[in-house]
């Protein structure tokens, strides 16, 4: 096994175990902390794919900002077993199972599809989904160039979306 493979399996195991612990933890604060561990593992995967910019932005945005806000809310609400609503109706459980199943199908289909994507680097065939240490699209120069030329319209539209979310938060947060 090469070093990259060892790291890959370690990070995958860490990500899966942490993700399962997010669901199994009784305490919501622990769930959030496990979720942060998941983000760290995923950032490790990004680094393996030579996408350092994505790795660090994943940490800054998700682990550093969004999860802190999650913690804020959860710590202030002080949720525990007594305050948790006990009776979840069967219909909600059924709907959840169906939605989760649909997501699983999509994920399996995507993984299945990716086997056909082969690209040629230096005379060797690599699967397009896992170009470890060769890919360059995740480096900041390339990503920036693609975002601001090829995908500039979706990029600007998503920033308008963020702006509207911000305005909405200010409106809700205003007194009276």
């Amino acid at each position: 096994m090469s070093l990259v493979e060892i790291i890959f399996w370690f990070l995958s195991g860490l990500a899966l175990i942490s993700a399962i612990m997010v669901l199994l933890s009784k305490n919501p604060v622990h769930s959030v902390l496990w979720l942060i561990a998941v983000f760290f593992a995923i950032s490790g995967h990004y680094i393996l794919l030579n996408a350092q910019f994505l790795a660090i932005v994943n940490l800054i945005v998700y682990a550093g900002a969004i999860m802190v806000l999650f913690l804020f809310v959860i710590m202030l609400m002080n949720q525990n077993a007594e305050t948790e609503p006990r009776s979840k109706s069967t219909w909600i459980k059924l709907a959840g199972a169906i939605a989760g199943g649909c997501l699983l199908i999509v994920v399996v289909a995507a993984v299945r599809d990716s086997e056909n994507l082969i690209q040629n680097i230096g005379g060797k065939a690599y699967a397009k989904t896992a170009v470890t240490t060769h890919g360059e699209i995740g480096l900041i120069e390339n990503l920036g160039r693609v975002l601001f030329t090829q995908y500039v319209v979706p990029f600007e539209i998503s920033s308008v979306l963020f702006l509207s979310a911000m305005v909405g938060a200010v409106v809700i947060g205003k007194k009276d």
Binding site: L33, I36, A63, G64
Partner: protein
Amino acid sequence: MNIDWILVLEKFILIAVVVFASLGIAMYETWGERKIAAILQDRRGPNRAGPFGLFQPLADGLKLFMKEEIIPNSSNKFLFVLGPSLAMMAAMMTSAVIPWGGTITVFDRQVSLQIADVNIGVLYIFAVVSLGVYGIMIGGWASNNKFSLMAALRAASQAISYELAMGLSLIALLFMSGSLSMRQIVENQMAGDWGGFLGWNFLYQPLGFLIFLVAAFAECNRTPFDLPEAENELNFGYHQEYSSMKLGFYLFAEYINMFISSVIMATLFFGGYDMPFFNEAAHADWGNWLALIGTVALMAKVLFFIFLFMWVRWTIPRFRYDQLMDLGWKKLVPLALANMLITGAVVLWLESK
């Protein structure tokens, strides 16, 4: 599996040196703080332990270690210990991307005095700074004490607010340098006239530097932004339940943060390991001495900033919480945005000329 073991050993030694140097400097920062406080208040300060009280930090450390270790019964034990550890770890991790000097030659081997020259150095610092909040929040929450929790939230919201202004002030700098690598930023500055002095970024980004400085004070929880640990009127803060060395870790992390942010300011705005009025490129044959001069220059700049931190602490009173939020969101963020726009416009104009 082929691993360059010499490289691993080299990095390991470098990491050990940087970590121990940071710890040692943080230790003597506590001594320096008390001496400077004493001078500013016309007192003598610590003068009993050793010459000039130089052994005072050792005595303080010993005292903290010997004190009783108390973990509250109703606290979350694991997270209670994790909190100060995280604070300490986040404080130490930033040093990985800082260039401490040029390149030295050891046994015919070029050794760069930087642990990792990644092409996202500045962003890495931001990631670590934003993770530093967790040490505070986890510690405050795990204490299972309402006052600790409120103080932790107070501290975390302060840190998040000022991170924003800090990031925006740096974007203008990155427009000019065109690179996120710390070494590249330093080398750009060294290329200026007067032995590099005219290349220093603070000459071109005075407003950006001022915003960064204020934000750094707030991130380190230093006066006038030390509400998270205001012991006299706000009930001490998130480390209220901590005792012994776990409290020591929180306090120590603050001093390490102070050191590291001084290094970052010196690196980003004041030329890093560039000696002013001295052309490094012309003396390339000096070898290791040149690297040493660079490191000494960096440390001199760092000492000045550490002194500034302490000077401000013993001069200016603390902000009220609403004033703090006002300054962060209504003054620094718009100023940083304006600075960013102006810099961007000027850079574009210069490029089109």
